[in-house]
């Protein structure tokens, strides 16, 4: 078996592969949007004053972070029908990925909200704001800065994690790669091709994430003499070595 550029290039831009790429993209986006929405709900449940809501959130996070996504996905696809919940391949993949994401994003949101100085809560309460008004005008705008970087990392992970949906025969990039490889006996070419597409997707997202972070990491207000901006430990480490 020798490397064939010819097969590699043919695979790379084949409609079959491109379709898989597209499926991976939309699956990632849909699962991310749903997962993050649910994650926000779980985060606020976990921060709630009501004991039962906190316990439900804790249990949710415990279970979903404590078991492999692969297992969750297979259970949702194969076991749920036995108890009368029948989900198709696509629905199962979306549900599994979203529920899994929610558990991680809940903790991200919670730490973002908790990172906002306690005095901000006091001040907004003293100004007569209700809980919802405090969240909307004071807490969330400040928490967003803290949430954006890990959110970006989660999306990067999500792009790659969608490949697990291949086990329930979701026709995304990884599954299509497997099939191409088997069909033409060109395993290396096919998987290199998949690697290239995943790398391209995560790289493009990386660029977008950088823009987002730059936007949200700006100090509040125009930059002045503020020396308070934290220096990047990695960069300053390098500077020290030079």
């Amino acid at each position: 078996m020798s490397w064939s550029w010819d097969h590699f290039m043919r695979f790379l831009f084949s409609d079959y592969m491109l379709h898989g790429v597209w499926t991976t993209i939309w699956l990632s986006i849909v699962a991310m949007v749903l997962g993050c929405s649910l994650g926000v709900v779980v985060a606020f449940m976990k921060m709630s004053k009501t004991w039962i809501l906190r316990q439900i959130a804790n249990a949710y996070i415990w279970v979903w972070r404590g078991t492999p996504l692969l297992v969750q996905m297979v259970i949702i696809y194969t076991v749920l029908p036995k108890v009368g919940i029948r989900l198709g391949v696509v629905e199962s993949a979306i549900v599994a990925l979203s529920l899994h994401e929610a558990a991680y994003f809940a903790e991200i949101v919670r730490s973002g909200v908790l990172s906002v100085n306690r005095g901000q809560k006091d001040a907004s309460r003293a100004l007569g704001m209700t809980w919802a008004q405090r969240m909307r005008y004071v807490i969330i705008p400040q928490a967003t800065r803290v949430i954006i970087p890990p959110l970006g990392n989660q999306f990067n992970l999500m792009i790659k994690t969608t490949s697990l949906a291949s086990v329930i025969s979701m026709e995304e990039l990884f599954r299509r790669t497997q099939q191409l490889a088997q069909l033409e006996f060109k395993v290396l070419e096919a998987y290199m091709c998949a690697a290239c597409w995943y790398l391209l997707m995560t790289t493009v997202w990386g660029l977008i994430q950088k823009q987002l972070e730059a936007h949200y990491d700006k100090p509040f207000g125009p930059v002045s003499d503020s020396s308070e901006k934290k220096s990047d430990p990695v960069l300053s480490g390098q500077a020290a070595q030079v």
């Binding site: 005095g119 001040a123 309460r125 008004q133 207000g221 308070e228």
Partner: protein, 273 residues
Amino acid sequence: MTRMEADVVPAAPAKPRELGPPIVEICNVEKRFGSNHVLRDVSLTVRRGEVVVIAGRSGSGKSTLLRCIDHLETIEGGTIHACGELMGYRQDSMGKKTELSDRRVARQRRNMGMVFQSFNLFPHLNVLRNITISPVKIMGEDPARAEAHARELLERVGLPDKAEAYPSQLSGGQQQRVAIARALAMRPQVMLFDEPTSALDPEMISEVLDVMIDLSRQGMTMIVVTHEMGFARAAADRVLMMADGVIVEDAPPEEFFTNPQSEHTRLFLSKIL
């Protein structure tokens, strides 16, 4: 410290003032944090237009008392009436109290302004938005009117040219004056100050105290936790001493400084003067 007080004292006129009816009535309030009994049977009446200064050792419960008035803390016993309402609770005919909903309490707090030791301006909003956010978004005031009012208040606290600045661009003293303007923007009937100058560099203390003295002259009801006895002399109608959750002294300034009844007050004065 004494130098700063000297700056503040001279302007003080003798001030027997017209005081209105009671506006804050604290009756037999009890507050615990776990096993820590922080307020013990505290009672205090403040009348409209009155300026009350509260002093006391660290941990004596001054901040807690102030926070209870605004219902930023719940209380375990007693009642607090402010601006004609029972703060934070509903009382049934048996006298049993149930905490009010978040929305009801939020509404009650709009009668009072509070200024904190650490300013607590909103760092993501500029000065103007810090001041107008509550009137516009919470009270539904017309934005143009709210802005005009905000600029007027900035004028009053001596910062007319800082409307567009962000909190991070201001000095501590300037931030605290903005915080005062922000609290005043709600047109409160009572102002609560929790050590408004303790976090400030000495040279900035008087700019904040001047604003507060000004406010007291305009008849604002104020409850001020502070150790700035120069302010107490200049503006207070009464000075209170707290120790271990109890008000141990409650006297007009002259009496407080010249003829203190409590051992705690004597000790405090000997340290500070």
